[in-house]
Amino acid sequence: MSGDEEDVPPGRTLEGGQLVDHRDGRDVVLKLRGVRTQFGDHVVHDKLDLDVFRGEVVGLVGGSGTGKSVLLRTILGLNPLRAGKIELLGTDTRSVHGRAERQLLSHIGVQFQDGALFSSLSVADNIILPIREHAGLDEGLMQSIAALKVALVGLPPDTGDKKPSELSGGMRKRASLARALALDPDMLFLDEPTAGLDPIGASHYDELIGQLRQSLGLTVLMVTHDLDSLHAVCDRIAVLLDKRVVVGTMEEMLAYDHPWVREYFHGPRGRAALKQA
């Protein structure tokens, strides 16, 4: 047993759940330490560590019911944090209140799974709302920002005037991304962004995320099951296993020895995506 660290099965990782250190001197934009999420007696995450570095795209995967969306919600403060510490953009999220909290929230963007657009506002007003609230620019400029973001996420120009209920599911996702991008956030959280998009739309989406990451220095944490997305845009992959995460590049994951990881990345779909990539 003693001294043979190589044989210790899954669970033994470096700082922040990493298999191999990829920090490379970058800032840690999101830092989770010992995070525990619990609903009643049901423990979803326990002693979970995760680091996300500036400028990278991390894909969060895991089997159904392992709490991917729950983890996202915990990071965003929508679930109570039972134990541990979450640092977002260098700020401890437990201790931040009032003005500072608003400031922090204006530097992150979130795209929810089904869009979560405000149904009483048009798409353009949905995009303008955070800008008006946090930056307060001229009406004319805000309108052109909204039009820009609508075009940026690949929606036709007349979408801005429509109500969310008039859009298809895929369009709602894009509109929701446009709202998440409204303030050019430092960090973007995406919940299943390409689920339900057609393959062309999904690969455009991946390109868009890659492009924005390049030009805006965006850091992205995305929950996804799209293996093509994982190949195309994700620098590292965080896998939720046994209430914790293990993070690594695609190569490291392919070599990682855990039944679920093996099945996920070496299964027929995993192989097909790998072949394309």
Binding site: H134, L137, D138, S144, A146, A147, L181, A182, S215, L216
Partner: protein, 359 residues
């Protein structure tokens, strides 16, 4: 040539327009129309909003931009590729707009009437069919709904009717005492409760708590496409959702109205013992001797009709929900307003009928 520098981000641009306008009025820049070349080598921080504003100042997406950093150049390219002029707001003539709205409303009203007729038709068809195969009455669902609309409403109906009974008795005593006729308070409470107040008050409470719940439940199911799912599985939403609710409320309303009448009388009796030195026995003796049974029947006849109207409107409006949470809210409001309106109109109609029938 336009030179820009410093920080151009969404948080730094507040008030820029005013400062620019001021500078323009003071005679700075802006001689040549059309795209200017931009020198953005001194820009420190940039985001899409900043890039957009710079390009707009430079006169559009065609402007040549010289940048210091590769990221900035990329950002300008992204923004240039996606810049669109927001459509100018269209000017619409006031009268045309008003006429348009009126037309829309009229067409909507027409559609509403047609779908209401279809809805009632469907209910009747399912109801008749259910007599042929009684399992289609969905007794389980009816019982479950009755628990919601009857048992759970007992407390609130009881309390409110009791209080109204007390109030009427108190007012009766006060007013009738002037004529030395305060013992007629018993008739005031009895007839008032039996004929109108018991059933009307119950109907209004039920419209507020159950009619609205029907609309919100069915409306939310509509938003979640549950109703569509039911149809594809071959379950008729009228049979599964609407009919049980209507039956439950038609059965529950008389029961609730009876309960309301009784607690109202109790309230009246309590008030009379306090203000009139009546005993309970005296109160109920006088009630038996002076208030005819038909006063009670008239109220009870109205109850199931009110129940039907409230349930039907609640379910109908729920099925009208389209798309969004906002629509659920609007239609829930409409369902409550419409059902209370219909209940009161019907109450007036019943009064006329009873008047003609001399009961």
């Amino acid at each position: 040539m336009l030179e820009v520098g410093g920080t151009w981000t969404v948080f730094s641009l507040r008030g820029l327009q005013q400062r620019l306008d001021k500078a323009r009025r003071a005679g700075a820049g802006g001689a040549a129309k059309g795209p200017h070349a931009v020198d953005a080598t001194n820009v420190k921080r940039l985001d899409t909003t900043g890039a957009l504003e710079i390009l707009q100042l430079a006169g559009g997406a065609e402007a040549e931009v010289a940048t210091g950093e590769k990221e900035h150049a990329e950002l300008f390219e992204v923004v240039k590729a996606n810049m669109v002029q927001p459509a100018a707001p269209r000017h619409v003539d006031f009268l045309a707009h008003w006429l348009g709205e009126l037309g829309h409303d009229l067409v909507d009203l027409g559609k509403q009437i047609v779908s209401l007729c279809a809805f009632f038709g469907e209910i009747i068809v399912i109801f008749v069919e259910a007599f042929v195969s009684p399992k289609r009455f969905r007794i389980g669902a009816v019982v479950q709904q009755m628990f919601e609309v009857w048992v759970k409403a007992l407390l609130i109906v009881g309390v409110l009717c009791f209080l109204i009974g007390v109030v009427i008795a108190y007012q009766g005593v006060q007013q009738l005492r002037q004529f030395g006729a305060e013992t007629f308070t018993v008739e005031a409470v009895g007839i008032g409760m039996f004929r109108e107040l018991g059933v009307l008050l119950t109907a209004i409470i039920v419209a507020g708590r159950s009619g609205s719940a029907f609309t919100a439940q069915i409306g939310t199911m509509q938003v979640n496409q549950e109703i569509d799912a039911m149809r594809t599985i071959g379950l008729n939403p009228i049979e599964w959702l609407v009919l049980p609710r209507i039956l439950a409320l038609v059965l529950s309303m008389p029961l609730l109205a009876f309960w309301g009448n009784m607690t109202g009388l109790l309230g009246g009796a309590v008030a009379c013992t306090v203000y009139l030195d009546f005993t309970f026995v005296q109160f109920f003796d006088r009630l038996r001797d002076t208030v005819g049974i038909w006063h009670f029947y008239t109220g009870m006849i109205k109850a199931p009709v009110f129940g039907f109207i409230i349930a039907a409107i609640g379910c109908f409006e729920g099925l009208q929900v389209k798309g969004s949470a906002e629509s659920v809210g609007q239609l829930t409001t409409r369902s409550v307003v419409e059902s209370i309106f219909c209940v009161i109109v019907l109450d007036a109609v019943f009064s006329i009928i009873f008047l003609l029938a001399n009961v």
